[in-house]
């Protein structure tokens, strides 16, 4: 009988490891400052914190590419299984940089919004918004860096408590109802996840992902635990049919918040699912489950897109599009199959999936911000009332259109590269049915994007009523995000080496460069 106790974590803190602590700590310090310094400095503190956060994200990226191995920090010097480790590999760094860019852009967009006035007494909406924006950035960083399943539980709760109040920032009954529904789904997800964590501990005596990878066995306990955790996280990721909370919540939030919720927050719980399936489950154990996840993903693509086409309001259309685009992420599970020679993360489907995640984040953030500007300009977001709107605020609609191009998968765009790689993977793996879904999803996306764009750019029959001016700065932020979605389409159409850093035993999952156990 072998001892069931996991081996001690075989790596030490790496030289740049402290950056990982800072990535989580700095936003929290920002929150504490906002709540003690008073409203005069709220925006200044928040934007400075976001800028420092972006610098830290870049520093982690530099450190990772410089050493070519994972960045690790043992918190308090305690080694797992007793202590907690933070760990950044290529995948986590991509997400951290993505988060820093999108939240930073949203911060620039939101400056001066919510009636913020440094000289007036503290107001509810701006104080709460900036606090929660910082909270989300810290919580997402923790999700991307945490290596301990319970630490990740705390992280997903942090995300819940920051995301839910953002939904009902306007204080209306309608959005509060959406927020409550979101909260109940999220809490259901949390308890299911925690139950899985308990079972994992009962089997292996550790919650550290790197250690679990080496001790996890193909057995009922592991399957039940991972199944419970996955279902819980699916409720938070809003994969069909657990998506029903998402449209009202994402469409009801203020535009700046919707952008963060749709672009990033749902990706946080998805990231944990990825880690469970590819970093803990033994590769031979994923077959049927992977097909089921992708099957739900395919239904999400078709269902979400069709409902999106039927929407009367722009923000709801964009929200249903999120339901569809999340579906693509789950095609990774059966397509990114590993083998002895090439691990899963070295497959084109893996790179395609992560490209989909990133390009959707940029495109969706751009589109939600554009929808917010439409609201500013015309006082409503009814699609039927937007004929000719593109001639009044062309930059906004160019941003919307470029984002939409990425969703459709037209070249050149990140969405194109992502879908092209996944299409090739499904042909290469002999699973042609996913290819059919990808193509069909692209056509449907074209349907809902052009439904908005074509009348908006056409010469209107009657002059459209303009309610107020639109800030040029905000238009440019939306455009910049849309251009990012475009630019990442220029990565080579092959497995990205960055995503391989720090993954797999030979790439240094357990033995980082120069620090043998």
């Amino acid at each position: 009988m072998t001892t069931p106790l996991a081996l001690p974590f075989p790596a030490d803190t790496t030289p740049g490891g402290f950056l990982l602590v800072l990535a989580i700590l700095v936003p929290i310090i920002g929150i504490l400052l906002i709540w003690t310094l008073g409203s005069r400095r709220t925006e200044l503190v928040a934007l400075t914190t976001l800028a420092i956060g972006a610098a830290i994200a870049l520093a982690i990226l530099t450190e990772l590419t410089g050493t070519g191995s994972a960045v690790i920090y043992l918190v308090g010097g305690w080694r797992p299984p007793l202590g907690l480790a933070l760990r950044a590999d290529g995948l986590s760094v991509v997400l951290i940089v993505l988060t820093a860019i999108v939240i930073g852009a949203v911060g620039i967009f939101a400056k001066g919004q919510f009636g913020y006035d440094p000289d007036a007494p503290e107001k509810r909406a701006p104080t709460v918004f900036w606090t929660l924006l910082l909270g989300i950035s810290g919580a997402l960083n923790l999700i991307f860096l945490g290596d301990d399943l319970f630490n990740l539980f705390v992280a997903i709760e942090l995300v819940t408590f920051t995301a839910v109040p953002l939904v009902c920032l306007d204080g209306k009954a309608e959005t509060m109802r959406a927020a409550l529904r979101y909260l109940l789904f999220a809490l259901l997800g949390s308890v299911m996840y925690l139950l899985g964590v308990a079972l994992i501990y009962s089997g292996y005596g550790t919650l550290d992902i790197a250690l679990l990878k080496s001790v996890a066995r193909v057995e009922p306990l592991l399957f039940i635990a991972i199944a419970l955790m996955t279902v819980g996280l699916l409720a938070k990721t809003a994969l069909f049919p657990l998506h029903i909370w998402l449209p009202a919540a994402h469409a009801g939030a203020p535009a700046a918040a919707s952008a963060v919720l749709s672009a990033l927050v749902v990706k946080g719980s998805f990231f944990i699912i990825l880690r469970l399936w590819f970093d803990i489950l033994p590769a031979e154990a994923t077959g049927l489950g992977a097909q089921m996840l992708a099957g739900l993903g395919a239904l999400a693509i078709l269902f979400g897109s069709v409902i999106a086409i039927c929407q009367a309001r722009l923000k709801l259309l964009i929200a249903y599009s999120t339901v569809a685009q999340i579906g693509y992420l789950f095609l990774m599970f059966p397509l990114a199959t590993g083998s002895e020679a090439t691990p899963a993360f070295a497959s084109i489907a893996w790179t395609g999936g992560i490209l989909q995640l990133a390009s959707h984040a940029f495109a969706k953030a751009a589109m939600f911000l554009a929808a917010g500007l439409v609201y500013d300009a015309f006082g409503h977001d009814r699609i039927s009332g937007l004929a000719g709107a593109g001639r009044v605020i062309p930059i906004t609609f160019i941003a919307f259109g470029l984002g939409g191009m990425s969703l459709m998968g037209l070249p050149p765009s990140g969405g194109f590269s992502a879908k092209w790689l996944m299409l090739n993977a499904s042909v290469g793996e002999g699973q042609w049915w996913w290819a059919a879904v990808i193509l069909c999803g692209g056509l449907l996306a074209a349907g809902y994007v052009f439904r908005v764009l074509v009348p908006a750019m056409a010469r209107p029959l009657a002059r459209i009523k303009v309610k107020g001016p639109v800030s040029r700065r905000r238009e440019l932020v939306a455009l910049a995000l849309a251009i990012m979605a475009l630019l990442i389409g220029f990565v080579p159409l092959e497995p990205a080496p960055l995503l391989g850093i720090g993954r797999g035993a030979e790439a240094g999952l357990l033995v980082p460069g120069g620090l043998a156990p």
Binding site: F18, L25, P81, L132, N151, L158, G171, L184, P220, L221
Partner: protein, 312 residues
């Protein structure tokens, strides 16, 4: 059947019965009272499975504070504001089967555990001396996994900010109204006599938590409950959201935690590491700060957001 086995079985049957009753009973108030009774029984269970620290937390937070919180919403929620329509029969059956399946799988895993139960107890014991505390749970919460504990206080703070975010715009910065219009005499008496005692107990529980069952979460909940009692009896009004003293009380714990954690980079070689020999005093310093902050957070969570402005 031995006496203890009889007691255990009775406890389990009662709890499951209460749980089912809570789900089926029509009256929300009855369900909430049932939940509070359930919380009391659950804390007994924690004693039976040798987890007195958890039992204390359960009785203070899980049953007590949560019950009070639910009671606050009871009257308002009775009007109904149904989240979903009454589900169809096939859906009920489906959910019943799924929930049953989860319970069944769990039960099977409980009855057929791994041959050797993995445990970190020996490892926790081995390093206990270096943390300077005698209670291994405090060592886990304040040393081995101190990062979790730090983040947890941030979770509670953000939950409070979330609760406050629901303040109507005109009431931002105002005092939550806790006291009822006419305070019943027994409540007043209770507040005057119990509160000093409760404060002493709360601080004591935190203080002994280093070596005996107890700790800041349990202590802070008792302090928060006493504070609530004082506010309900109208002896003191709740602080305004904009109050600087309240804001400082809320952040002092996390701030001390960060300060000591960050100084660990320099003095002990890692974030949240303690220099040799200084572990216990530093842990006590953090716990003192956390006691204040968590008591303030829990108290304000119980008080809820202000619903009307008191500023001109």
């Amino acid at each position: 059947m031995t006496e203890t086995a009889f007691f255990d079985t009775l406890l389990v049957v009662t709890m499951i019965g209460l749980a089912i009753w809570m789900i089926v009973v029509r009256d929300v108030f009855a369900a909430i009272i049932g939940f509070m009774a359930f919380g009391l029984l659950l804390s007994l269970v924690w004693l039976r499975i040798e987890a007195p620290d958890v039992g204390l937390t359960e009785i203070a937070v899980g049953g007590g504070a949560t019950g009070v919180m639910l009671l606050r919403a009871r009257g308002l929620a009775s009007a109904g504001d149904a989240m979903n329509a009454v589900p169809s029969v096939p859906f009920r059956v489906l959910v019943g089967v799924l929930a049953g399946a989860v319970a069944l799988f769990l039960g099977a895993l409980v009855v057929f555990p791994p041959a050797v139960a993995p445990t970190l107890a020996p490892l926790a014991a081995e390093h206990l001396a270096s943390t300077g505390v005698g209670n291994p749970i405090t060592a886990v919460l304040m040393a081995y996994r101190a990062f979790d504990t730090f983040l947890e206080t941030v979770v509670v703070l953000l939950a409070l900010i979330g609760v406050w975010s629901l303040t109507p715009d005109g009431a931002w910065g105002a005092r939550p109204r806790v006291a009822s219009a006419d305070v019943p005499a027994p409540l007043l008496l209770l507040a005057q006599w119990l509160v000093p005692l409760g404060i002493v107990i709360g601080i004591y529980i935190t203080w002994v938590g280093a070596d005996e069952p107890g700790g800041k979460f349990q202590g802070a909940t008792i302090l928060a409950a006493m504070w609530m009692l004082v506010m309900m009896a109208g002896l003191r009004s709740a602080p305004a959201l904009s109050s600087r003293r309240l804001r400082i009380a809320l952040v002092v714990g996390p701030a001390i935690f960060i300060a000591i954690g960050v100084s660990g980079f320099h003095f002990a070689g890692a974030f949240l590491a303690y220099p040799d020999g200084l572990a216990k005093p530093l842990i006590l310093a953090i716990e003192a700060g956390l006691l204040i902050s968590i008591a303030a957070m829990l108290g304000m969570l119980l008080a809820g957001p202000p619903l009307e402005g008191d500023r001109p």
